[in-house]
């Protein structure tokens, strides 16, 4: 999580990210997508999560570009001719047209996912009237990957304590997959049942609005910034509708 973003109402970066995604896909080409990418990365670096967001953008963007360029420029559309289906430069341009907006969108959304604490975001959304169940679904979704990773680590530790080799060559890893996967799935299912019981015991009502011990502040400047961002977003969509 980003300490710099913790000073902001989580809705502000969320709306900014939304504007960048729309800009990348619906803004005037060829400027909008690179512009959205540069702004998203700049915001990420400025708020202390630049390295992770850049890495995220690269691991999505580069393979996507390479794959599309390979398909367009090297392998013919009908699969019959190899090489020269399109001039390589043109193929790169076509690949870029798809990969760049995608990379910009990943960078913008990645910035919010990496930078905003999910629980702060749900509290901010709850203050806007989001029902308890959707707040919980949002937290659970954002926490699903780290939760599964944590659980996998526990299963891994337990298996290693019993002498099950889970490292080494490809064969060894494949052999250990079954004793890993089964318990992981079972424990995740069990945990979701336990979570339901824990929530029930604490008076969780899906349709009820929750209050917050520490309400998320929403100063006037941030509300103004968000209003401006909504206007920009509407402007981009209007431009796209006209053109």
């Amino acid at each position: 999580m980003s300490d710099a973003l913790a000073r902001w109402n989580p809705l502000t970066p969320l709306v900014a990210a939304l504007v960048l995604v729309v800009l990348a896909y619906a803004g005037p080409a060829p400027v909008s997508a690179p512009l959205a990418l540069v702004v998203a990365l700049a915001l990420a670096w400025r708020t202390g999560v630049g390295a992770r967001v850049t890495w995220l953008a690269l691991i999505v963007g580069v393979p996507t570009f390479a794959l599309l360029w390979l398909m367009n420029g090297v392998i013919a559309p009908d699969g019959a001719r190899v090489g020269g289906a399109l001039p390589l430069a043109a193929a790169a341009r076509d690949a870029n047209a798809i990969a760049l907006p995608l990379t910009a969108a990943i960078a913008a959304l990645g910035w919010t996912v990496v930078g905003i604490a999910p629980r702060r975001l749900t509290r901010a959304l709850a203050a806007r009237g989001l029902p308890a169940w959707s707040a919980y679904v949002l937290v659970a979704s954002l926490e699903a990957v780290p939760e599964a990773r944590r659980r996998a680590h526990e299963v891994l530790d337990a298996q290693r304590c019993r002498g099950v080799a889970v490292r080494g060559g490809v064969l060894g890893r494949l052999r250990s997959l079954l004793p890993m996967a089964g318990p992981l799935i079972v424990s995740l299912v069990t945990e979701s049942e336990e979570r339901a019981l824990a929530l029930d015991a604490r008076g969780f009502e899906p349709r009820r609005h929750r209050t917050a011990m520490v309400p998320i502040e929403d100063p006037g400047t941030e509300r103004a910034i968000r209003a401006a961002l909504w206007i920009v977003l509407a402007g981009i969509l209007a431009w796209r509708f006209i053109h």
């Binding site: 080799a165 979570r195 824990a198 015991a201």
Partner: protein, 488 residues
Amino acid sequence: MTPVLTLDIRRIRYGRNTVALRDVALELEAGEIVGVAGHVGAGKTTLALAAAGLLGRSVAASIDGRIVHHGGGHPCAGFVFANPWTQLTELGGTVEEEVAVGPENQGVPSAAIRARVDRALALADATHLAQRVPRDLSGGELQRVALASALALDAPLLVLDEPTAQLDPESTDRFAQAVRSLAASGTAVLIVEQNLELLLTLATRVLVLADGAPLATGSPSEVLDRWPPLDARLGAPASVEIRARREMRDGRDDAYAHAGRCAPAARAPLLCIDDLCAGYGARDVLRDLSLTIPNGSITAWLGANGAGKSTLARTIMGLVPARRGAIHLGDIALDPLPVEERARHVGLVFQDPSRQLFSRTVLEEVMVAPSALGYPARDADHRAREALEAVGLEHELRVHPGDLSSQAQRRLAIAAAMAAGPRLLILDEPTAGQDAEGRAHIARALERQRERGAAAVITHDLAFAHGACDGGVTIDAGQVSFIRWNTP
């Protein structure tokens, strides 16, 4: 007095055929502390869930009878689960946020939530944990958080299922004081406990269940202060047992002393730890810890919650890397060995055994370790059966591990570790939730382990430590502060 809860249960069933509880009539009044005791599988947790209004909601069950919460409210009771890990909702990133989840769900205004959370943390002796991440806490620390989370609901009824199972003795005393002060302020408390000593001193009334039905009810002294105990599976409070055995042994001072044990210090050392440092992230948990455990010994590792006992066990096993220091088991240096290799020499049973059980049957589960370590199938089968016999599960070979009670699962995890034939066996809180029968099985398994090498028991159960171990090592703030061996 004002009634808070009226239970008139004819039958509670799980599924079609399993009757978990029958013929229970109970009324709780404001300010009353009612203790519920019974052997494993007696129906205590079912009664607790019913009293808290959770049965038939998130726990599927059919109830034939009447459960009335006179105070109303939602939830109608604060509930503390036997397993503190199941208490976490994950809606809170820090302990104080987790404790605040209940009042937030109730729609309490912000300022009032803060006041409730501060009061609940103080009552549960968990104020110092407020900014910690719940998942990083030890079992005992998490149990305090669980208690605080239930208290923060400010419900007229508090239902506690084994609330002290993971607490150190000092925290248990503070817990008892907190419950007394809650009762004094008018909260009705229903407490399920295997710690009969606690019920003897804390409860105003006790209900003993056996095989899903009431066996006895009355004042704690009438029901629990008797020898032989009402139900041998349940046992008796430690003070009652010690007194009775002392009388039987004609004035012998130490009822638990095991004749024939020599001072372990005279034996060859098995585990030697020198200047060990280990921790998580930037936090040092073990600080220059040195310890020697003799061969053929059973040692209790004692100390406050969060003192570093479990971290020590995980470091010996290799799950937490040592930052400095050396660990030797006999003439084997453990430091360079990976966890999988250490499993030949060291067995570790975690606090939460369900995290360690994966197979389709009990027998298969226990065969995993010897098979993984390369023993032939016949040998692995033999080792598994031997280990299961040691923990009293020899008749459950074909049962699915998930169908066992949590107490039996704990013993299964012990058998699974023993089957690998480790020279050192470390059990983390093995007696949590065990009745007298379960504790006797674990004590027997420890005696079996003594023949192979040594065993260490991380525990807050001083009566068990005294009865089943040769001595105690006290760990305080990541260092060994005190060692005491029993004398023959």
